[in-house]
Amino acid sequence: MIGIMVVSHSADAAKGIRDIAAGMSGAGDDVPIVGVGGNDTGGLGVSVGKIFDALSEILPKSDGVLIVPDLGSSILSSRTAVGLLPPEDAARVIISDAPILEGAMMAAVEASGGSDLAAVANSAKEARDLQKSDH
């Protein structure tokens, strides 16, 4: 099973988006989905250490992990944390270019069907094209 990691500047947002993706996708408890957010003191920001620790915990339980970050330093910190992993683990992680909420949701749906990492990453990316309005 592919795991999903939501990375946000806010711990609340990360948890909330994680809950939406887990709950609304119907993935239930089958897909390991975690939310990581906030700096080391819990304020707005991102901590490489927190992402690294979460990856180290979720990777042994999954065939691969898709990270869905919000923006800016969430992306840089995710890349840095992946770079600190042993190469064989780093090869099982993809950082998604998808919008955070829609991407996490689509990824959870795809992962719950038992798809591989490439397919889960692809579905998340397709979330970019979800149309909400004509404006």
């Binding site: 500047h9 700096n39 080391d40 920001g45 991102v46 901590s47 490489v48 330093s73 890349r79």
Partner: protein, 209 residues
Amino acid sequence: MAFTVKMAIAAMEKFNAVIEEKKEYLTDLDSAIGDADHGINMNRGMKRIMEKVRGKEYADFGGIFRDVAMTIMSVVGGSAGPLYGTFFMKFGQKLGTKSEASAGEMADALQEGLAGVMSLGKSAPGDKTMVDSLEPALRALKESADGDEAAAWNKAVAEAEKGVEATIPMLARRGRSSYLGERSIGHQDPGATSSLYLISCFRDAFLEG
């Protein structure tokens, strides 16, 4: 005279002091085009680094810069954390078990650090980032490393200063400031500014021996 581990620790002490002194200035620069946290973040990061590094014995550059890198990465929540963290990590890895380095070897390490920053941030010279002061400093240090090493460090700082000034008319292409588009023009880049301080602190630690 070679650059020693003791000088590296002194350079970090100096960097901590300069960041403390300039934190409001850096934050002012960052409030014009970023999220106004660069000074505060770097200040917090450097303080924690010094708590970790002070009083500890380091046999080589690899050891001290690994501590510096891991601390700044976990403490600094903005982009400066992973960027400076990667810089120090690659810088220290290149010097590895050495306890002394020539200006040429320091330039090689600087080059590794810069390459790490550019690869992580997908940035290039001219994007209005820390690369714009580190890259000219590296070029100067490399070109003059075979002559008088003190002069080479002075040249590196002088070129980094020019690099910082050159960020003012640049259009930001990376980070939060790039969301401003044309409005980023006319402001000095805070990351390039703090990187200039870092190079100056290396120079000062070297000159003071």
